[in-house]
Each structure stands twice: as C-alpha cells, then as structure tokens.
C-alpha cells in the first residue's frame, strides 16, 4: 500500500495507444489534495498518460513517484504492477462491472484491500449513503442513468482509499443537466479526498472549473501548464487559445504598439492600453470584437478589414470567423447579422478597443 503523498511523474513512451506516431513526453506534479487537469484534443495522449500512471502502460523512460516511493523507473528497472499501486481509476464510460449490483461495485475495491465480504458490503453501503447514492445500492448497472453510473464509478474509486486518484473524461458523454450535477459532485468530493488527483478531459471548461493546475497537451507534449486563470486568460499558443475560446496573436511590442510576427500575411499592428516591450502575446475575447459594414471612424480602436469565412450559432450569439490581416473570431447578435446583412464571403470591418486587449510577455 502506498502512503498518501505528492505525485511526481515524468511519463515517456514511444508508443501511445490509439494515437499517431509521436512520442509522449509529459511531466506531471500534483500535491496532496491537488487536482491536476490534463487538457487536450482526442489522440493527444491523455488516456495513455493516465494508463501509465495506473501501471497499465509501461514507461519507456522517466519515472512515477508517489509519496516519495518510486512506482516506476525504467532506468532503475523499477515497475510496481497495477495491482500494488493503490491507484483509484474512474475510467472513461464508467465501466461498471455489468454483473455486479451497485453495492458490490463499490465493495469490489474494498475486498481487494483486505476487507472480508460482509465488512466490504457494510462499508460500501456507508459510502453510498454518505454520497447520496444509497437508493441505488441494489441496482444493476443497466438500470442506472449515465450520470448515476459515473457517480458510482467515482465512489467505487474513492471507497478503495487510493493513494492517487485518476479520472478519465469524467464529464464526457453526459447530457447537460447530468454534467452540471456531476461537476458539483466532483468539486465537493475531490476537495475531501486528500490525495493527488489527475483528471484528463478534452473540455476546457471542465478543466478550468475542477482543477488547481491545468496542463494542456498536444501530440504528446505539454503546450502550457499553470493555474486555470493563467491558462484561460493568457494562452501561449493558438491551440490553447482555441481551447479556451480567445483570439491570440504574437508580436513585438514597442510601448503601446505591437507589430504582429505570426498569424498574419500582411503587416498588421495591435494597439494596447498597457505598456510592454519585446516579444509578446496579445489576446482578446470574441465578444470584444465589433463588426461593421463601413470603416468605423474615431476612438482609439484597432480596426482591420476582413472577410467572413465561417458563421456558427452559439446559443444566443453567432460566432463569426473572419479572415484578414488579423484573422479572428467575433461574437455578434443575430440582430446584427440581419442588420449588417452578414454572410460567408462578405467583406466587413472589425474593431477591438485597446483596453480589451490583454498583452503579456511571450
């Protein structure tokens, strides 16, 4: 049994499962009670990273250490098998054992931690009642909704008193209401586990809401890691900006004027309200972009011409993709779409106030 303690992992494998031909190379660290979210698109190597932590996929280099104990270190020929890692896994799609009732699902892990049958069932019932799932105890997995099954899978992992908790897409493939309920369920229970937690997700919102630290993964590499506010507010790559829904450009700043060095074919400049010098990122929200039929006059704005290349409804707004010297996303109201007669390939002018632009060193 592994004592609770911080996770320190450097996961390297040349052959991530179900992904393209790239090498996975990720460093992860999580303190006791800390939640680290690994965020990335499908095929980025997230699930493989989780399987490596659980001992289900071998490392080709690097290490996994938990509470000062080495669980795996190819360089020193150390490899503790999955059975003896004391890891709690909440797999994708819950994976409740189809032949076991909810009470026995939760008792399953307890039995293999040394409890006898009656003790395991008693403790299992206690866990289900404390987590508000008491009524489901006698149900088979086929009689549960997706959200209920996910909660049982989480309680099943928690009940086994893991030294490390791993969640694989805990909120994926559920309907909107179930996601809301489960998110608060997770927030509440993850706060009380007292062990390092690693969760992987392709949904930026889940990562930002649930995690203390967000690690953005793409093609097996860490693109950006930091506090949720940092990642959400100051993306450092086009991919991260797209994940958190921001416009991002990179350039060289001389005071309040940034000359763009990427994301543009023509010379373009961004005016900022805060002063910076040197290599910088500028980002702003799609909602901060105004769209006009004619070139707007006056006021200290950034103004660029462009052409609409995409229109997608998003709730009560319409998200425009605009290509131009500065290609960007812009959120407008359906009324504005009608008034300005916006359509794909239509020429437009876009503007962003200098005060809406966040600028930070690259």
């Amino acid at each position: 049994m592994t004592r609770p303690g911080p996770l320190d992992a450097h996961l390297v494998t040349a052959h991530p499962r179900g992904t393209g031909a790239f090498t996975l190379d990720v460093r992860l660290a999580a303190g006791v009670g800390e939640v680290v979210a690994v965020l990335g698109p499908n095929g980025a190597g997230k699930s493989t990273a989780l399987r490596m932590l659980a001992g289900l996929h071998p490392l080709s280099a690097g290490h996994v250490r938990l509470g000062g104990r080495s669980l795996e270190e190819p360089g020193r020929s150390i490899r503790v098998p999955a059975q003896r890692r004391g890891v709690g896994l909440v797999p994708q799609e819950s994976l409740l054992f189809p032949h076991l009732r909810v009470r026995d699902q939760v008792a399953f892990g307890l039995r293999h931690r040394g409890a006898d049958r009656a003790e395991a069932r008693r403790e299992s019932t206690g866990w289900l009642e404390r987590t508000g799932l008491g009524e489901l105890a006698d149900r088979k997995p086929s009689e549960l909704s997706g959200g209920q099954a996910r909660r049982v899978a989480i309680v099943r992992a928690l009940a086994a008193r893991p030294a490390l908790l791993l969640l694989d897409e805990p909120l994926a493939a559920l309907d909107v209401r179930a996601v809301l309920e489960l998110r608060s369920f997770l927030r509440h229970h993850l706060a009380h586990v007292g062990v390092p937690t690693v969760l992987v997700t392709h949904d930026a919102l889940d990562a930002l809401v649930l995690a203390d630290v967000v690690v953005v993964l793409d093609a097996g590499r860490v693109e950006q890691a930091g506090r949720p506010a940092e990642v959400a507010g100051r993306p450092r790559s086009a991919h991260v900006a797209a994940l958190v829904g921001l416009n991002l450009v990179r350039g060289t700043s001389a005071g309040h004027l940034v000359t763009m060095t990427s994301g543009t074919d023509e010379p373009a400049q961004v005016v900022t309200a805060t002063e910076q010098h040197g290599d910088v990122f500028c980002c702003w929200a799609p909602g901060a972009v105004s769209v006009h039929g004619q070139r707007p006059e006056g006021s200290p704005r950034n103004v660029w011409r462009g052409e609409i290349t995409g229109m997608t409804p998003h709730g009560d707004i319409v998200r425009l993709e605009v290509a131009g010297p500065v290609s960007l996303l812009a959120d407008v109201t359906p009324a504005a779409v009608a008034e300005l007669d916006l359509a794909p390939a239509a020429p437009v002018w876009v503007s962003v106030k200098a005060t809406e632009v966040t600028v930070y060193p690259a």
């Binding site: 399987r51 659980a54 001992g55 289900l56 098998p81 999955a82 059975q83 003896r84 890692r85 004391g86 890891v87 709690g88 896994l89 797999p91 994976l95 054992f97 189809p98 032949h99 399953f108 892990g109 293999h112 931690r113 086994a160």
Partner: protein, 277 residues
Amino acid sequence: MSGRPAVALGAGTGAATGRVPWQLLVPAAFAVALLVLPLTGLLVRAPWSTLPARLTDPEVGQALRLSLLTATASMVVCLLLGVPLAWLLARASFPGRRVLRAMVTVPLVLPPVVGGVALLAAFGRTGVAGGWLDDTLGLRLPFTTLGVVVAQSFVAMPFLVLAVEGALRSADARYDDLAATFGASRWQTFCRVTLPLAAPGVLSGAVLAWARALGEFGATITFNGSYPGTTRTMPLAIYAARNTDFEAAILLSLVLLVVSVAILALLRERWMAGPVS
C-alpha cells in the same frame, strides 16, 4: 445528420423487393426436403403400437442412462480443462500460441474414426501414454466407460474452447485492467470479472459440447468397442440394432431425438433468452 430518410436495406422491406426468384426458391425447397424428410420418415416408420413395451426394454434405459451420464461427464471435463485453455488462447501471449490454437481445432475437422484410432495409439495398452497409465496407476481407458468419456471429450472440447475463446475475446479487456487497479490478482480477476462476463459464451459452449458428446459415435466405437452397459451409448445401440431389429433402431433414434431437442429447448428457454452476442 442528413435530412433524407435512410433507405432500409434490411430483410423483408416490402414493395421494392419484388418476387422471390425461382433460382433461389427451388434449391431452398430441396434443402428443406433433405432436412425434414428423414425426420418425417422416422416418425412415420416408428412402431407406435409396440412403443410402450419396447420403451420399457431394459437395454433402452441402459443405453440412455449411459449416454446421459457420459455426455454430462464429458461436458464437465471440457469445462474444467477447456475454459482455462480458452483463457490462455484469448488473453495470454506466449510463443506458439497460434500453433496451439490450430492444434486445438484439429479434432473439429478430423473424422471421428480417425480420432478413435489416434486415441488407441495414445491410450491403448501399447500406446505412448496408455502403457504408463496402466503401469503406474493401473488405469486402462480403452473399452471402459471412462474411455467413452475420454473419446467424447476429445471430439467435444474444440467446440467449447472456440465458443469460450470467442466470448473472452469479445468481452472488454478494459474490465480486467480496471480490476487490476483495484488490487485484484489475475486469478481473482478471472474468477470475479472475466468469467462472469463471458458466462453466456461459456454456457453455449457447454451446451454445444454436451450435444456433440451425446451424438458421438465414431471415436467412441473405435476406441471402446460396443459393450452393453459399459460403452454402448445410444448412438452405438442404434447402430447395433440397425442390422437385427430396424424398428428398435428407429425407436432408439426417436428417444435420442426427443431427449436432445428437449434439453436444448429447456436450456434455451432458461439461459439463452435474448440475443447472445
């Protein structure tokens, strides 16, 4: 999601399908005749008037008891030995796994008579294993009831192994991984997760093996001869009666038919309700 309604391509979709072509209908009718006529003949030629008297003939009961006993014993042998073998083939990786799998399926295509000769060559008194068994354990398999079980297990085992292997392969191996993270050893995982998940496949494999053992003739008669009470199972009794008393052969055939159909129907009702995938 496209706006057009999907075009149904499944069976029996009505109007557009037109008439059944005679090129298919005629051969199908012959196939039905070939399958159904012999069974009809059995019913028509059955000695219905003397049926009660013949049924109580002790030789009928003896052969039937022996058949049920040996077929059931063979099924148990197949389960005890075949399920572990199927697990090895489905889940373990070792050199020669493909060769082993091919060898396991050989009895499936081997003429049962050849199987009987092979069993004699292995377990006969001068056979490679038979001499040793006789010397050390005093165990002689040929021409014994135990020998019948061995012959039936030999021909029935591949059916069970293939059915269970298929079920294990289609069972999600991620459950095994998950059980491991909870601290379950591979043996515990097999007992508590893998086997319960593969249960429908194991059951249909067992039924197949039982039915194959019940009908076994060639290997049994070659390896064990045909001695009433010890090795003369129903198929052997039918063959023996065929030359002397054809009506008795028909009667025994009917009994075997009724017993096997009844048990299969019962199992189907009890265990195989719903699709077995």
